[in-house]
């Protein structure tokens, strides 16, 4: 059994001068700028004789911009210290594992450095993703402000479309790791009974890659933005100025980060489970992470490849996506959605996992239909590879195959239905505690239900003819992603936050946050279904006059979403900065492994892994007709 933690001596704090020198964020930023200019100059030098075509915009060409980004990112990562280990390995030093004594260090300094402790990386992820989440949300507010009027009034069309693209890219790119980054990195090792991820340096790398991606994306505003939306359809994007290079660099970096994150988590789950932690005893959240990682490892490389093709079209003048030179615009659509559809399940499945993981805790019952839940998530993951052409129902590509894609798309509702069945089964006859995380889980159930049902309209081709590319589909994916991912993201913050930070959050503010968000969310995106049905296309800066009333309603509701987010921010600032009330070790009376650790969590997590029972959810009073418990297996080594 777990022994209690003994007090540990804190390492002595080094003077500021010493801390500024060496591998840290400051060095990284300096090297990033240096790297950018080196890449930029090399780009300027190589383009001229060998490559026949380059964009003639004064002051840059696309090769310069791409090499600049490459140099900048390499410089940044080197400055953080990521190059040290590869160089050591090249010189023949044996493989070793990084130490992580910095966990015990007081203050915030440890979060601004390369850290390989899974707990520190998780908090880094949470803060970093949080910042971009709020910037993306701010973009949404600006978009809604523009749509208060049916004509162009605040932003010009260039700026408006750039905002739309930035909002979409930031949310789809940065938030993809929104649950896996902060929460899977934290709880998966603990849940399966190890102290680290399989590749701790890789774990840190995924975070810093993601952050550099975000910065690369924001630099687009210095190059004129990009007017293509987050899908970046060719050949429109090929017409774009260097602002689109930022999009390419951003998504390529996000893609690398995602692939490596998925790979790392998958290897950890496969190889590092504690003795006795068989596959059928894994908590359902670990299964959700596993299913997500399968998608990440397989689908994301296609995104990187398709972006690479686009980048080659822009630099070395290939013609993958240019009709007229042998390319095809539809090649991009196919390849992009072959990644893009699994991508939306990469966003959704961790949400399923969180809901199913939290429900037993707050209903005081075992998870109902554990195997069904797993089958649901794996089923969604598998099916998501066979549905991508439903994004192209009216495009005229392979139109004869539409009945097949209609069937495969509607079949996705079967495994998704499993998740709902498990939710209902677990709630049934439970002792439901409506805490803040539980409220967010229930919010997920409500929102995702409507998200899923509107998805059936979009998957039915005759109905899709009207709803495709309209505000209806926009409302649909906001119901599934914002109502699904973001609600569970907050559920996870309120649930695991006290364990991760060691501090208590205000329950009262949390409830305000939930109710305001829940009502404002539905009041924002509900009417968008109607707007889509009434014929408003997506990504427009103008719309018919008769739609103004609903649009104004939506915009005002959207501002209430912003207010609810401010309440959340205030909750975080108040709890983490001002009150700093230590959290209880197990405020939810959870029986899950991570809650058995003391709070604050010691650097080593645990000394000995507890005995693993036959059931990951040992809640509830035994009932007579209970049968089907797995046989108990011996304890930990």
């Amino acid at each position: 059994m777990m022994t209690t933690a003994t007090a540990m001596p804190l390492p002595a704090r080094k003077p500021l001068g010493q801390r500024l020198l060496g591998f840290n964020l400051l060095t990284a930023l300096i090297l990033a700028v240096v790297g950018y200019w080196i890449g930029h100059l090399i780009g300027g030098a190589v383009h001229a004789p060998s490559i026949k075509y380059y964009s003639t915009e004064a002051g840059y060409n696309d090769i310069s911009v791409f090499l600049g980004y490459l140099g900048g990112v390499i410089g940044f990562l080197t400055g953080l210290g990521f190059a040290n280990y590869p160089v050591r390995r090249m010189l023949g030093h044996p493989p070793d594992l990084p130490g992580h004594a910095e966990v015990n260090e007081p203050g915030l300094w440890k979060y601004l450095r390369l850290s390989t402790d899974h707990k520190v990386v998780s908090l880094q992820y949470l803060a970093g993703i949080g910042i971009f989440f709020f910037v993306g949300g701010l973009n949404a507010m600006l978009i809604r402000t523009e749509l208060l009027s049916p004509t162009t009034h605040v932003f010009g069309p260039n700026q408006y479309l750039t905002l739309v693209g930035l909002h979409g890219s930031m949310m789809m790119g940065m938030m993809t790791s929104g649950i896996l980054g902060p929460f899977a990195n934290w709880v998966v090792p603990t849940m399966i009974g190890t102290r680290r991820m399989a590749f701790p340096r890789l774990e840190a790398l995924t975070f810093w890659l993601l952050m550099s991606a975000g910065v690369v994306l924001i630099t687009t505003i210095f190059f004129g933005g990009f007017q293509t939306g987050w899908t970046g359809y060719e050949p429109l994007s090929d017409q774009g100025t260097a602002g689109f290079d930022a999009y390419v660099g951003f998504f390529a970096l996000v893609g690398m980060s995602m692939t490596l994150l998925g790979l790392n988590l998958m290897v950890t789950i496969i190889t590092m489970r504690a003795p006795g932690m068989t596959w059928s005893r894994l908590p359902i959240f670990v299964w959700a992470v596993f299913a997500t990682c399968v998608l990440m490892v397989i689908a994301t490389p296609m995104l990187i490849a398709v972006l690479l093709m686009g980048a080659m079209d822009r630099t070395v003048q290939t013609a993958f996506f240019e009709p007229g030179n042998g390319g095809s615009a539809q090649l991009y659509q196919n390849l992009f959605w072959f990644f893009g559809h699994p991508e939306v399940y990469i966003l959704a499945i961790p949400g399923f996992g969180i809901v199913l993981e939290l429900l037993p805790v707050f209903t005081r019952k075992p998870l109902w239909g554990y195997r069904t839940g797993i089958a649901g998530m794996l089923g969604v993951a598998l099916l998501s590879f066979f549905v991508w052409q439903h994004h192209l129902f009216v495009s005229g590509i392979n139109a004869d195959l539409r009945p097949f894609y209609m069937l495969s798309t509607e079949m996705i509702s079967l495994p998704t239905g499993f998740t709902f069945l498990c939710v209902m089964g677990t709630l049934w006859r439970g002792r439901i505690r409506l805490t803040v995380p539980m409220l967010f889980c229930m919010g997920w159930a409500f929102n995702f239900l409507f998200g899923g049902i509107s998805g059936v309209f979009l998957s039915d081709v005759p109905s899709d003819v009207t709803t495709h590319g309209s505000f209806f589909s926009m409302a649909h994916f906001h119901y599934t992603i914002m109502g699904g991912l973001v609600f569970t993201f907050f559920a996870a913050i309120y649930y695991w936050g006290p364990k991760m930070t060691g501090l208590k959050f205000s329950e009262r503010l949390g409830k305000w946050h939930f109710w305001l968000l829940f009502i404002a969310f539905n009041s924002t995106f509900g009417p968008l279904f109607a707007l889509g049905f009434m014929g408003m296309p997506r990504r427009v800066v103008t719309y018919p006059l008769n739609l103004q009333g609903l649009n104004v309603w939506v915009s005002i509701s959207a501002y209430f979403i912003a207010i609810s987010m401010l309440i959340f921010l205030w909750n975080v600032v108040q709890s983490l900065v001002f009150k700093r009330e230590p959290a209880e070790a197990n405020p939810w009376q959870s029986k899950s492994a991570e809650w058995q650790l003391p709070t604050p969590v010691p650097a080593y997590d645990f000394i000995e892994w507890p005995d693993i029972g036959p059931d990951p959810y040992p809640y509830g009073e035994p009932v007579e007709d209970y049968s089907g418990a797995p046989a108990p297996v011996g304890g930990a080594a």
């Binding site: 090249m90 399989a198 790979l263 490892v297 296609m302 490849a305 690479l308 030179n325 390319g327 390849l335």
Partner: protein, 201 residues
């Protein structure tokens, strides 16, 4: 975090050695999956654009990359992959075969670059030219990290000869060698597919 050791004053039980020997192999096999799907995009582009050739612009003008160089590059990669995979099975020969594999790989990269200087078409010369440039260049760029990986294994093995290595550490080293040889052999197989599509069909 260390395999056997302590943080502060707390003694931790040792981490099972499988936590260090199993991940490289599993990760490599998953990584091969990623790489497969990466190149599958180019394969898809090839098949899609070729089948779509409604405007007869699969090939525009004279597009013929040097087949001799193509065969040589492919053969070198395959040879390199096979030799390093064999070398990993025979601990005595590992270092020697590794050196040969690296040399062959470097020659393959150099020949591919040589081929680029001899081609007389650009990316705009039709879809085939685009796929050719995109696929071969990413393939050969991807070979460079693979060569780096083999090099790290060799350097580690050379150093390990000079000192006492525990049985557990020996197993960790072998796991790294196995992983890199699996990847390299797999990568060579992708090279064969690349060759078949770009030169033969």
């Amino acid at each position: 975090m260390s395999v056997e050791g302590a943080i502060g004053e707390v003694r931790l039980p040792p981490e099972p050695v499988t936590h260090r020997t199993r991940p490289p192999g599993v990760a490599t096999r998953l990584w091969c999956g990623s790489v497969t799907f990466f190149f599958a995009s180019f394969l898809f582009a090839y098949v899609f654009l070729r089948s779509l050739d409604v405007h007869k612009d699969w090939v525009i003008g004279h597009v013929e990359p040097s087949g001799g160089l193509g065969v040589t590059v492919m053969a070198l990669m395959v040879l390199s992959g096979i030799i390093w995979r064999i070398g990993h099975f025979r601990p005595v020969d590992t270092i020697a075969t590794g050196v040969v594999a690296i040399v062959l790989g470097i020659v393959a990269v150099a020949l591919q670059i040589l081929q680029y200087t001899t081609i007389d078409f650009g990316g705009a010369s039709g879809a085939y030219a685009s796929v050719f440039i995109g696929w071969t260049s990413t393939y050969i760029l991807g070979a460079i990290p693979g060569l780096y990986w083999i090099e790290t294994q060799l350097a580690t093995l050379v150093r390990a000869r000079k000192r006492e290595v525990s049985e557990a550490d020996q197993a960790v080293l072998r796991a790294g060698v196995e992983a890199s040889s699996f990847f390299w052999a797999y990568y060579a197989a992708i090279g064969v597919v690349t060759f078949i599509f770009l030169y033969v069909i």
